[in-house]
Amino acid sequence: MVDFSNQPAMKGFFAPTRFEADVYDCEVIGKVPTDLSGAFVRLGGDWFYPPISQDDSPFSMDGYINMFRFKNGVVDYKGRWVKTPRFQADRAAHRQLFGVYRNPFTDDPSVKGLDRSVQNTTPLAFGGKLFTLKEDSLPYEIDCNTLETIGPWDFHGKYKSLTFTAHPKIDPVTGEMICYGYEATGLETNDVFLYTIDKKGEVTRELRFKVPYISMVHDIGLTQKHVIIPVFGFVTSMERLKQGKVHWGWDSTRPAYVGIVPRDGEAKDIRWFKGPERATVHTLNARTEGEKVILEAPIYDSNPFPFFPPIDGSPWNPSKARAYIRRNTFDLSSKDDGFTEQTLFPMNVSDLGRVDDRYLSLPYRYAFTAYADRERPFNEWKAGNLAGRVNNCYGRFDLATGKMSSYFAGDTHSLQEVCFVPRKNGSEGEGYIMGVASNYAEMRSELIIADAQHLEEGDIARVILPFRATPQVHGRWFNEGELPFA
């Protein structure tokens, strides 16, 4: 018996959507640009069975991959569960067998040793294959046309880490993928394996090193010369896991470390810089300028996640869970381990930001992300008491001038992660922004498409789903030629 009635946060718009879906020739308000040919692929999660504990993290939700397929101005939608061993074991048992986030000690004994991954974080297209990514396991290959799950992928046995990041970086100059796994040799290990994989999918380089303490290394920065590795605040231990807790807790006494290693360097070449309490969960872009390495990212003052609470028992502090677009500058010629931090825009933003990927690791100008504009109207009667608490705008942040332009989704909507789709042969920032809006009043999801250079003019098109799409973690646009689409 599946019963979500005692899950108070899983109601209304946020009730689990437990179905798979195909919608052909989606309803569209406006006109879909015909030069958009490919697919916007979203990965996220939803609970197929209720979690065993209300303390669990949404990061434990079963992976669900879904795709808006664009062709000749027409959009089809398809959504499928990622059929992991975990998902299949739960289905067979008709209940949740797995315990809290990344803690196998809380699992039902019947699934001991089974891959616990839920594959719910980032879609990746690389080497002509579509993958789902989750940082606690290997990538899972997915059929790009049916979205059915093929299985884990280890790059012909050459990728040795047990885990694979949700944020590999693809160098637009060489086509190489720089990727890594942390807790690479198993649960509660401080090993990181960093890889270079060529555009055909062959591992060409491996670097093994250790981080100052075991922590979440969710994303990295990439320049043409260096890899930047943020380590911050989240801590774990075997003792903690044996107590039945979720994998991470927050330790505000831990400094934030940032490791910088040359892309052709060895473990001995890593230099660790140290700063105050911060959380750099996601990065925007990075570059090397002479002796300086510059990272730009939406950086939180402290713990962003209420479901990974402070280890000292104090309540999670929402006022510190705000991300600001910041620039960290690391001087490789300096003698100490300090670095500078500059806040580039005054408002806090969603940390799920994007840049024009053709400029990744290179000098660039524009960043895109969602944010909450408290000056815009919000209809609380139709959409709940969320005024100022939801991201109602997408912003284009001009890092050269400090100016921004914005797109407003409406007074009953919130916006999930933005995606930038460059126009073919266009200059930086020329193209479309795309992302899914939650329409709380109509209980449905809408894919927004807007001209990235004219955000104030509103959307060009909205692709309407007649239901609530599963929550997204990350979404990516893949052009027609990147995957073997039918």
Binding site: P8, A9, M10, K11, G12, D55, P315, N385, R389, Q416
Partner: protein, 97 residues
Amino acid sequence: MREKLLLTATSRVTRRSVLGRLAALGSALAVVPFRGLFFRTAFCQQGRLAIVSFHMDQPYLDWSGTAVPYHPPPGVRSAQGVAHLSEEMLRRTCICG
């Protein structure tokens, strides 16, 4: 037979009866506290009091009991206030509203 049933159903749902039911529903909505209608924003589990609050575009459970509660909108399909309505009644309600 099917036509007869439809006729019976149609005649039962007259404009006057719909308005009457809407008035009754409106009265009920007016006297029930807003927060109690749709979500239990505070609840107990194993002796701990939690609040359903909202962060990063989704509700979460605040076990400190100090967060700003999340009150979802009234009148949406999944809300208790209209959960008992048939699809037809819901549509009529929306048209009249």
